[in-house]
Symmetry: D2
Subunit: 338 residues, 4 copies
């Protein structure tokens, strides 16, 4: 359910409506579409209040059936959105493979991996410069230095760069050097960070939280869109369930379900879902077969000495081998990989 | 961990070992391989008892690293098992599509659906004659009459028949008419039923329980194998998680994980996983891309008037369309669909 | 939502209504209250069909807000139901403790345990005679012999007996000797078994399935009630979640939630929830503090040599000690333990 | 498993050991106890590396059985830790009730609520000044102004104040005014924030994440302790499962399990677990019965007009009524509430 407010509604009326809903236990998402404010009611909460809300000053209309994420909804825009990442189109016929090491470790390493994955058909380079740290002695990422190495690898290969941003205060710096900003699973509901990436123009790669529902993913995307940036790509990367044979449970259904509900591109990250190199190839193929617009994988020149996530990183030859499989699968579903 | 018993061990010694383990909280699986009894310890329980067990009368040796399901383990048999279902080989290069209505409703209906899916490339006919009933007024299945209709459809089309058996006392009857016996998700740990299907010679299609781990699936398969029937095919059909956008969460990773751990064929059932016709095609494709040896789907000539599971059943043209997609995907992963 | 049928509705009309709902993907529960048939729609499915259903022959009225389990619902009966188990009242002010070994192992053992727990304040004796078997060498339970030993222990102590029944064909035998029939968690949705216990007069202890929702528990109870037996006691015993520190996650909220939704008594089984003796005492206390009408615990004279579930069984002194704690807690919440 | 490093080990050797473990897929926690560095291996990962690690320069010894959170472990300190919150002792015989509104809304409101809960026996005042915001029109909390109002309410009533801190940059400000800093469930693994609260002297109330295991809670606590602050109180507040009848599933077993594994105090938050006022009383009682050292509840003078979380807030008379129940339960388990 969406409450559409009148144009020119006063701040006071807006706040009164929002608080009325929240006081009655309603959870909501406020979204600005051009001049018009939309308030989406989440989870069916407070739908019983429709009549009362309708009567409040400033309310234009109520859309009972509309999902609470107006801008990212497929109802709002029927055609697929194509997000341009420095001239690589994500969400069009091409299935875009994004590859690179978990962490940028040195100029030599990133140059080596970037050159190799570019040759095998990757279209975007991934690599971490800022890592969420769990120990002060763990590799923390190279920070700005790492961003510069990524930029140099981009110059060398022509591949645009996606890298994670973990704190609001780093957004500006990361956006200066990267072509797309990644929001990690742990930060999917870090609203301060979502606001910041929503207020800058580079595209955003938004990963699903480990225990987030599909609706929550779409609400987080709406949050970014509502802050001004509709260039959002969603990423399924596994959820936490009772099953312990894999690190997370790769929810491949999320791909077609998201594609039904939103016009935004949807990609998959089989490396983090499985946590095991030997599963990356089949899960990447499954994601594409299910309709994913892209794949994000970890690749390392020497996984056994990688400074992070070695066990789930593909080797360079492993990546090349996987690409040949994925090209066939993309082809089978009417898409292509270059 | 597996405890291998000496050949000719007495019943008394066997029971003493089993009870010693169980008294110490160990959960176990007893499996007979030819003349030798293997006791598999589940979940790491009681591994601390290894030394004490080793010293008990009748113990031959202990394999610390072996999984508790010896016969179905990939360690026991490196090559893929190919299960022959009335001359259709499941587990070989061909990806075997099994299709048909949730329930057999009439001779006309099953004949119509069977003829159509056969023409589109299905290799095995599915159809329910005995349904787990939740209301006395719900359609209960046609019982033996339904089995005869399935048999007639087999004669007409040449497609072998798989159908569910829900009670131990029905095993003999169902096995007389069907070419493969299906154990439904709710019965995966119905040990009496597993014993019965394990004691007859027709192949068994064993569906994963809605909250069963992959290890539990393999233990259930071992149970059937230990009763004498190693012709078992496993089926992923969705697990229960916090996500509510789909009826169950289709755990596509289970396919490659099972293929690593067991030599048995593994298929997927996207119809029950998703509970929604529009998701069947992408999930079937995902399953094959991930390495499944087959797909089980519900197809109905008129889903809107189906007596059960209409909303998740494909139409006949929908099935034909899906097959053309699946052939491409099978091809892309080095398999084929006829 | 409940569809109330007209008295004297024809079987044909009944079946037509049920099938119309099921064909549209609706899941339902048919419940007979005296002369009137109620069809409960589950999970909000098919609520959109209300107008069409209303117009069908044989439909008397539609209750939009009613839960799909009419007889067990608190709306049907505002006052708590008190279930009489051979003169022990469950669901009244007394908190009823049911204790005994997992399995009856011998006449001496059950007599010893029964005598001891009776003296410490247990009011009902539990003990397994038929066990769901996972290995042919595991202790299978003593069967009818075990039932006779339980009966003898009842004669000795005056404690009524509750014991599990695992197969429809055993219901009559178990009901001859026991005072209450227990349906285990694995059988909560074994509808054939539910029908059988619903068709005999002894009270039924119905355990929640490991991955069953609270609504599903209530539907299973309605199924028993609809078969003619409304003397049902519900039991929370842990659900499967991502947490592995305990065997299952003891969902203590289920107690007050169930007490709000149903008039039936609700008890807890901390032994199976935790799988660890050291947690039984705090969880039993938590259950009573949350409003449970009773507690079911495993007690053994020598847990280290118990033939099943030793690690979660209390010792005799441990039980006595727990009872003194539980008496205080029961008292604190306005209940009592004798 | 814990790797104990030699005193005076070089930074280079430390980093080499950490990276060796991480390169082999090991997840770890580095903890400083006085002069000695402890590296805890998480989840059994990399235990196979023990011999290799043992041989590395700078390694003093390996404790195979030790949990990876040395300082907060019960093995490290057998006696319960008592955390002093401005002279209120948490973790001793008294069960400490912390109460107040979700959000501080005005000086009048917080004064009214504080006065009332103090009189009914609350020992610590809770109230949010900084709220994680999901909409710009939602009530954002009063920020520093709210902190001052809390401080005034403390002066009025003598109740120490606990309030949430949501960003590292706010830690200093919040610590100036509050007596205990709360880390919310969404921030349980926000390591930057954990570092900040670990580097200041006020006690920390650490809430379990919605999908965090008990081991992860203890690792987060170790992280705070390792940054220098061992005055940590843990809080169970519900986890995400398949059950939808309650907002989250209140994992009451976490209380006794945590009390076994750690010497830190453990409290429960039934308001957020249930999301429903009518469940707060039974769940608070259950928590205390299970051994909780305290209870955190939301109380509002007029829940129907509360600016946040009204539906789960107790009324002032509701709180008073609950306290009389909780006193009895505390007494029954050998504790007390003043």
């Amino acid at each position: 359910m969406i409450v559409v407010l009148a144009q020119g509604v006063s701040l006071k009326d807006k706040a009164a409506i929002v608080r009325f809903i929240e006081q009655h236990g309603g959870r909501l998402m406020v979204s600005e579409l051009g001049e018009t404010t939309h308030i989406g009611l989440i989870d069916g909460t407070a739908q019983a209040l429709a009549a009362q809300i309708r009567a409040m000053p400033g309310v234009e209309s109520i859309k009972s059936e509309a999902p609470p994420y107006p801008q990212v909804s497929r109802e709002y825009r029927e055609a697929n959105s194509v997000v341009d990442v420095a001239d690589v189109a994500v969400g069009a016929a091409e299935v875009v493979v994004m590859a690179g090491p978990c962490s940028v470790e040195s100029a030599t390493q990133i140059s080596l991996v970037a050159g190799s994955v570019a040759q095998s058909g990757a279209r975007i380079l991934r690599g971490g410069a800022f890592k969420p740290r769990t120990s002060p002695y763990s590799f923390q990422g190279l920070g700005e230095e790492g961003l510069l190495m990524l930029a140099a690898a981009r110059d060398q290969t022509g591949l645009p760069v996606v890298t994670e941003v973990v704190a609001p205060e780093d957004v500006e710096l990361v956006a200066t050097h990267a072509d797309m900003l990644q929001i990690g699973a742990r930060n999917m509901q870090n609203f301060r960070l979502l606001s910041e990436v929503g207020a800058q123009p580079k595209p955003v790669l938004l990963k699903r939280g480990i225990s987030s529902t599909i609706e929550e993913v779409l609400l987080a995307a709406e949050y970014v869109a509502s802050a001004g940036n509709t260039r959002v790509i969603l990423c399924e990367r596994g959820i936490r369930t009772f099953e312990t044979a894999t690190r997370n449970t790769f929810d491949v259904s999320a791909v077609p379900v998201l594609k039904q509900k939103t016009h935004l591109p949807v990609i998959v990250d089989p490396s983090h879902a499985a946590g095991d190199r030997s599963l990356v190839r089949p899960l990447a193929a499954a994601g594409i077969a299910a309709g994913a617009d892209g794949v994000l994988v970890e690749v390392h020149n020497d996984p056994d000495s990688a400074l992070s996530d070695g066990p789930q990183s593909l080797t360079l030859p492993g990546f090349t081998e996987m690409m040949s499989l994925l090209k066939g699968v993309a082809d089978a579903v009417g898409r292509f990989i270059r």
